[in-house]
Symmetry: C3
Subunit: 323 residues, 3 copies
């Protein structure tokens, strides 16, 4: 079989881009060099897709997608990425995940799945579950969200989207809007953008949902400029507007949810004359009016495509390490 990188059309600088870790559990483990390498590899993956019908990159390799809580979007994105690389997928999803109910530990499940799959992506409702899994896994392990903890491929696809929409990352003004207290993606992305130079943050939220101390202390430590406000207009003046959903399940008081959920709704008229790229981790439930979709500012559907590219890049880089 012809190696995938032997053709004239596709030069894959394998040695130069190897990651120096086996598992991806947190954006905090990434250096700027790592992040840049993954973004670069994601662009190669796009070219690989566009050239079509080539030799598969990961023939015979199996991804285990273990989703202890349902996340159709993330799961389908990982599965698509693996299939696009020519690999295969085994899936355990939500209600099907019977061993969980029989009291098996995460460690035992991961050791078992090591006997089946060549790489694992796991979503689990408990913070810290990903670290426990990675600690015992002999095959590469990717955290696909551990409760309120980390979701590094989401942050990486956000980063790729920002770079593609704006042409750079250094020096950008980034606004994050909505539920900044519980929004896992907001935290992960902040840590990742903190690797770049001169990025400034504007956090816009009702005061009940401000960014937590773990984020602000990170920013202070790194001496990164940021402001906190409840004024939506501050966000519209930035280069990037990262909208998030205010999740009903975070509220015990439903009336409090009803009062807050409409606090920050973006409509097309607000974007008139504005050069701001609008991102959203999706699904949205009203925070962005559909009249925004047709504007060039709307980057949130392109994010989904970038998600496949980032996951292809991470799967490919982690599995190529051993070759």
């Amino acid at each position: 079989m012809v190696p995938v990188d032997s053709g004239a059309a596709f030069h894959y600088p394998r040695a130069g881009m190897a990651l120096n870790f086996q598992h991806l559990t947190s954006t905090k483990q990434l250096s700027r060099r790592d992040a840049d390498a993954i973004l670069q590899h994601a662009r190669l993956m796009e070219r690989y897709l566009k050239e079509g019908a080539q030799e598969p990159r990961l023939p015979g390799k199996i991804l285990a997608a273990l989703f202890y809580e349902p996340s159709t979007r993330t799961r389908l994105s990982f599965e698509t990425a693996m299939l696009r690389l020519g690999g295969q997928v085994i899936t355990a999803d939500g209600f099907q995940f019977s061993s969980l109910y029989k009291g098996e530990t995460i460690e035992d499940t991961i050791i078992m799945v090591n006997q089946y799959a060549d790489i694992i992506a796991m979503r689990h409702p408990e913070q810290g579950s990903a670290d426990r899994a990675a600690a015992v896994s002999k095959v590469p392990f990717i955290n696909a969200g551990d409760g309120p903890g980390q979701h590094p491929t989401q942050a990486l696809l956000d980063l790729l989207t920002i770079e593609r929409e704006r042409g750079k990352i250094d020096g950008l003004r980034i606004a994050m809007v909505g539920d900044l207290k519980f929004g896992r993606t907001v935290h992960s992305l902040t840590f990742l953008l903190g690797l770049y130079n001169g990025v400034r943050f504007t956090y816009v939220s009702p005061k009940e949902l401000v960014v937590p101390e773990k984020v602000t202390s990170f920013l202070k430590e790194k001496d990164i400029a940021y402001e906190e406000t409840d004024d939506f207009n501050a966000a519209l003046a930035c280069d990037v507007l990262y909208m998030t959903r205010i999740q009903q399940e975070r509220f015990t008081d439903r009336s409090e949810y009803e009062r807050l959920k409409d606090s920050y709704v973006l409509r097309a008229k607000q974007l008139k004359g504005k050069d701001v790229s609008v991102l959203h981790p999706l699904p949205r439930v009203g925070e962005i009016d559909p009249d925004v979709d047709a504007l060039p500012n709307a980057a949130y559907f392109r994010q989904a495509k970038n998600g496949v590219l980032i996951r292809m890049a991470v799967l490919d880089m982690l599995l190529q390490r051993g070759l």
Copy 2:
């Protein structure tokens, strides 16, 4: 890679059979020419399967099977069809379909899945959901059932079965029996058979479950002969006897269901000396006694095989359009 249609054994008249639509949401969008072309392609698909181990027709292509309500039969049939063509499948099924519960619109889900898959098949409990999905999908979209609405590949597989069992479609006498009011397959198949010449319908049901006005007005408008009766014997004199299940979930009054469900049960002795082909969309729950299974009249299990062939044909034709 050798093109699939270059071999001497397999001449695929690609240009001549292209469909002039991108999405398949309703049998009403089909002309007789379309229906004939799909049936012809299904026969080619059978030959493709029989010749075995050939070059895959759809290498690298991904079908997204989105089932907002469970339908194992239809889902497995679509997935089998895609795998038999050499493609791959990503699946979101029933309880797993988390975004639904997070309030995402069908439109947003479809736009997202467009970033993952090359073609989509969707089942959804709401009538009209398929049209909403097709309106925003840039990749081919197939309606796999939208509540009480349409389920075009079911009607096409019924049509293929009728043609194979009877050798023709024009001029046949078709009896439909059971729940004709809520039976989606009965409606879709009527519209499809209405494209052919001289087909006559006999609708047999309790009066609580007669065919709705949308069907009878279609028949009147097209000047198609039909009769309505509650006499099961009228059905046995036809060329085709299309049995349907009387679904408990359609009744609020359980005793009414119990009274009606045994109204029309087919047994082997009734078929003695009769040249009538028996179809059923399955699953059956007692409407056809298992003693019928061994008779040559019993076409309902061959229907399942025809379902794979029709879905192969539709997937292949819709994806070949862009080649």
Copy 3:
């Protein structure tokens, strides 16, 4: 395409190893010659995996994994096996299995799935369901557990593990510990080990959970030596210690469960100086302390790998029959 067995590196004695049955529903149908042939083929499968990236053995073949009750471990093991052989998989799992709820018989489901797949693996909560399925299936059928009945590939993977850990099977002293009354794996494995010469059994359980009469009458009939005891130490003196989980769902009285579940817990200190191989069908819920995992005695995670090999062997042998 080059036949898989034409290469110099891989001699597969196809004719000599054909099984003389089409369906695998029970260990009771296996002769010693059958069991030996499957173990030998499993070792060939390991070699096939190690040599990597060869021609697929089962290209274009589809496994239907029908799981009427969830069993992620068994399902993923079967799916992995099929994918490793180059085949594909369609899956219906637990809550998704909608036709079940619509009252379809097992027979109708199997006849339908025959139209989709080349081979079927089914788990179902009712004893006898596997025999009903096999009776109507024209494609090879594998019982993946029928309630309190049989689960032959589990017993075969246990057998393979015993042989690999001990270098032989004849003459071994086998201890089985825990819930011997309801433990399906204990019964199936006993029947299978009964084919070998001079195997002796030590059954260790609280008296509420002793092996049932169907097992002891088998042992008496075959004149196989066995003892029953509630003394855990008797187990530690054997060559193989087969631990099982005491399942909460078997108890109506929770306090009775709480009292019994800790009766037989294995800890590392008990294994000091002991040459006994520890197996467990997994998942464990405390019967084996994690401090055992690092000992060479711990064979239970290697069992999972052997499970893939056994299922590859069975899938391959049953599908090769028709070639």
